[in-house]
Symmetry: C2
Subunit: 133 residues, 2 copies
DNA sequence: AACGTAATGTTATAATATAACATATTTTAA
DNA sequence: TTAAAATATGTTATATTATAACATTACGTT
């Protein structure tokens, strides 16, 4: 029997805690800095925890920012597709909740490409910044 | 009067030539290696050429692969949105020609987000690999 | 020609990420 | 219940990706 999906090890939980309490996506070395008081000492410990958290869908990587963010969804498709809205003013990142995979699957099929997964990073201005600027 | 958009400097042309003749996206240090016989000696020279080429829309960066690819389109929106289909088997990368910006703009508006630009990286299996595997 | 702008050349270093290996912990299954 | 297998850890070193800083050169504009 494989372990329960919600059982995290100490380092994994430490890294997830930091990401969940962060308002913006964090870079790996920022996570390292923040977790040094909790016993994490080397970059590799952070990257290993991130790898696992990404694999189980608790964390996503924002490729264009080399940053990591905790998933707010109940259960995300583990380690697969992501769709983000990234504010160019305040750096707020939110996940696009609407499922866009079927649209991409259709678009891909039109050029004989079998869709498997995607990363989507949309840049623009969030509602809050629209109001305050 | 500003210079013509199609006037590239020596280094820029050298880097673009390499990318245009490459079958897959190239990493910056692979470009450096390939261009050393043509006088480019340091990473910064490659990155500077890439920056300019990206700015004028001749080259795109594939964020999830830290790689660069020449744009095959006549004229791409300079330095803005990109949509790629990336084959997980052969690494072939093609640009999605269909304009998906309006779809994203609409999806974004639904959550009060003002769309500005996007990066889309779709992973899957290309037609050729489907046939040969 | 003199100026402003952009590109270049060069060295050094910052930022991001992984290799390699020894050890410890947990899970599984005989 | 314990030995084997799998997973996670700790640690040092190093690979990979990208930029800072500064001096110099080329080039278009007036």
């Amino acid at each position: 029997m494989s372990e329960a999906l919600d059982t995290l090890t100490k380092n994994q939980q430490t890294v997830l805690d930091i990401l969940e309490s962060a308002k913006e996506p964090l870079k790996a070395y920022a996570i390292l800095f923040d977790t040094q008081k909790k016993g994490i000492k080397a970059p590799l410990q952070v990257y290993r925890a991130l790898d696992k958290l990404i694999e189980i869908g608790k964390v996503h990587k924002i490729e264009s920012k080399n940053s990591y963010i905790a998933c707010k969804h109940k259960s995300c498709d583990a380690g697969t597709s992501t769709s983000f809205l990234i504010c160019e003013i305040c750096d707020l990142v939110t996940e696009l909740k609407k499922n866009v995979s079927s649209y991409f699957s259709k678009q891909s099929a039109e050029v004989n490409f079998s869709y498997s997964k995607h990363n989507l990073e949309i840049y623009g201005i969030c509602n809050n910044c629209k109001i305050n600027n």
